[in-house]
Symmetry: C2
Subunit: 493 residues, 2 copies
């Protein structure tokens, strides 16, 4: 049976891949940051995990049916990464005011879909998983889709490859087959076990009778809402209120207040494990959730010395180590089983066996209000991005990249002047009442308390070096008079 024949039987007109791109990036610090989680990273290959997930989703459903659920702080980075699909996806990014685990994200996505299509079937895909085997993936989704049409809430189960205590385990009723597709079968579920202890896990893995709960699901949106009504009525009520507020165009701040009241809950624990309609499709594609630096080698094989080496790293006599460099030169000698991750503004060094503790380290940063936990030196904005090259008490130097056709807000700073030098492309500059072009190699100065705007009227990216000078150079010294992106008072340029 050719996989495409399965896909054809999934009615694309009612099929919606929903990609969960929330979460906070603590476990892959310093490559990930709280506001720049793992799915935004090109961990494997040239594309980020989010882009790979969108591409994967587009193989099983129409691209303009893809929905992305993310949090407000990631909105700009996510939009930038979806640039290739901006025409199809621009209106399909659902912003949570903050992450409240998967149940609110999935539930809200279901409510939003049902307004458009009462027959909607959702394929839920976390944006930060690594899946290999397109044909196998398509086949599993097709089978899941069929079971969903029968009213099941379906999870995909992965055959365990190690005694991992961090996952949920599923025991399928293998004598109760709900349907097949090639060698795959779908089953009802005998039991769920959430994060069992080491001893139990070892027994499960040896028995061969248990599966990992992959966190990927397929169900009809209306069935999911029925199950929410049964098992999480309070959460559903909250989500319905929020859905109504979005529909009525209520302000973000009001939405955020209501969202904060929702219980933070996983869809597995909140709904799947309680539902009598749960089913599982054991999959035969390669899967990893790359849960921390320690799992990296599941998806990136080491070289002949067992090292995974990237970026500007020179190593001597090292083995079994993950050495991620960036631009800066990193020299390593005689490392064994170590993890080294270097970025522009922060570096991590620890034994691979301690990779789980990266989360604890970031928690220390949080308590000490260390900014490198939150964002990279490069910060994304709706018009492009900027990188802080140097910051002093009374000056700051940035490289600013403006995407073609985009422009920053019309703005003014009370306490700093800005000097712009164009190093790529052409700028249109508003300075006070004047509007003029600034070509490659030209520069201009924006005095303090002067209205100004930077635009890229061209077809290629505009890059400028900005030197800020003043008695205060914080991002919050900004008055916005006009903005393309609905930003008015929040402190971003």
């Amino acid at each position: 049976m050719r996989p495409s024949s399965n896909v054809k039987r999934m009615k694309p007109s009612h099929f919606y891949p929903v990609i969960l791109a929330g979460g906070s990036g603590t476990r892959f610090w310093p490559l990930s940051r709280e506001r720049f989680p793992k799915h935004l990273l090109p961990l494997i290959g040239e594309e980020t995990l989010l882009q790979q997930t969108v591409r994967r989703a587009s193989k099983v459903g129409p691209i303009d049916h893809v929905r992305i659920v993310t949090t407000a702080v990631q909105a700009e980075a996510v939009r930038l990464q979806l640039w290739e699909w901006k025409d199809e996806l621009a209106d399909h990014v659902l912003l949570e005011p903050e992450g409240r685990n998967t149940a609110p994200a999935v539930g809200l996505a279901a409510l939003r879909l049902l307004r458009r299509d009462p027959e909607a079937t959702m394929l839920v895909l976390p944006a930060d998983h690594v899946v290999k085997g397109e044909a196998q993936f398509k086949r599993a989704v097709a089978l899941g889709y069929r079971l969903a049409q029968q009213g099941h809430v379906v999870t995909f189960g992965v055959h365990p490859t190690r005694a991992e205590t961090g996952y949920g385990y599923i025991r399928p009723n293998t004598r109760c087959c709900l349907g097949t597709s090639g060698k795959l079968g779908g089953y009802t579920i005998a039991r769920f076990v959430e994060k069992p202890d080491q001893k139990t896990v070892r027994r499960y893995v040896q028995s061969g009778k248990y599966l990992w709960n992959s966190g990927m699901f397929v169900w009809r949106a209306d069935v999911l809402i029925e199950e929410c009504a049964r098992h999480q009525p309070k959460l559903l009520k909250g989500l319905q209120a929020i859905d109504g507020m979005i529909e009525a165009g209520q302000p973000d701040a009001k939405l955020a207040r209501r969202y904060k009241q929702l219980e933070s809950l996983s869809i597995d624990y909140g709904v799947m494990e309680r539902s009598t309609r749960a089913a599982v499709v054991p999959v035969d594609f390669s899967w990893s959730d790359v849960g921390s630096w320690g799992n990296l080698e599941e998806v990136i094989p080491g070289n002949e010395h067992g090292n995974v080496v990237r970026g500007n790293v020179i190593e001597v006599d090292s083995e079994k180590s993950v050495l991620f460099g960036s631009k800066r030169l990193v020299g390593c000698i005689g490392l064994s089983g170590m993890l080294v991750v270097d970025t522009t503004d922060a570096t991590l060094i620890c034994p691979k066996s301690r990779a789980q503790d990266v989360k604890a380290l970031v928690e220390i940063f949080r308590k000490q209000r260390i900014p490198e936990r939150l964002e990279h030196a490069t910060v994304h904005r709706p018009w492009g991005w900027y990188t802080v090259l140097e910051e002093g008490k009374d000056y700051k130097v940035k490289r600013i990249s403006v995407l073609p056709g985009q422009r920053l807000s019309l703005q003014m700073h009370h306490r700093r002047s800005e000097h712009w030098v164009v190093i790529a492309g052409t700028a249109r500059v508003t300075r006070g009442k004047k509007i003029f072009r600034l070509s490659l190699g030209e520069s201009t100065m924006i005095p303090e308390q002067t209205k100004h705007r930077l635009e890229n009227p061209g077809k290629v990216p505009l890059e400028i070096i900005e030197v800020q000078r003043g008695t205060y150079v914080g991002e919050d010294d900004i008055i916005r008079y006009a903005d393309e992106y609905g930003r008015n008072r929040n402190p971003s340029p």
Copy 2:
């Protein structure tokens, strides 16, 4: 006996501390660089080892008698570090075209001193040693001076504290005392042993009869030259030729060619070990040559977990490690016996037990022509220094600091324009035929192929951000029309 009484007996009018500040900085990479060796680093305390050595020398001889021997590539960094003593020392820095080990440096210094003072006595101090105990140091120098007046070539011997195979060992004739000062005695030498094997070293250390050769010496300049004539006549002939060339004001390039022909030789091996006039003063001050990262803890004690931590480092559960951060955040978890050194443009990670291999790593960099082995992101110039903040194919961003009263050369670039923004102090700018002031927060643009000059006419440091833009931004695109510092064709701005 008070130490000062000893010092008084050293006739200051004929006593010259000669500081050897040559060498290349491979063992302390990345804090040191080939052109920025260990003695230029503030390894202990706020002052660099060179500054500490000058201060130590100034306690035993008049400051304007101090002589510094360094190599041409370090000249600007050395001059900058001697800023405090610029009036006394400006004319007393002897530049070797390149390092040829200690014998040529010491021999040339002796010849130069003899031209000024035929009765000169030299105290030779390497610039990168750590000495603790001022009174003990003064006493040892005073005794050494007395033996030098008797015609001895005197070395200072250190009581071994470990079985170090990297040093030379000395066995004094303790039954043949040449003189005393308090508890110190000076002795003739039974034998020198250069870098003995591990087994021999262990026997030496256990016997208590051997001393380390510290590399610090005292002798009359005329006696040293006599000994050179006896044991290294060819080297002496070369040095006399060079001394003559310096006296005649011959060009640097000619000097450099002649210098290259000199044998690269240590004064220990070339003269001390062969001389019948050798003597040793066993010292009672604390001494370390901090030979590599592995010796750091001799001079910087660890905290309660045995860690030496500096800069922006946050560590969890680490022990017995050296963690040197800089501005960038470095997070460490669970390290044991590790060495982590982070700088603006390069980072080193290795077990402390492999610290000796840093030299081998830098050798790999040399073969691969990796620039980070040579210089820091911050480069010293006679007028101040600059730091490269960012470099692209066709642009470069620098922070430039110009010392009060200093100015860059009058220069021109063929293929780049430069944009200057003043972030501290006031500049005087020459641009084409115009000369004007540029105040804090002001900016100007120097078009390509335009003569220009940057000066600091003020009393406080001038800092500017320079953005270079052009088809080529290498340091060698420069035409110099006038320069305060005798630089005309060499590629530095």
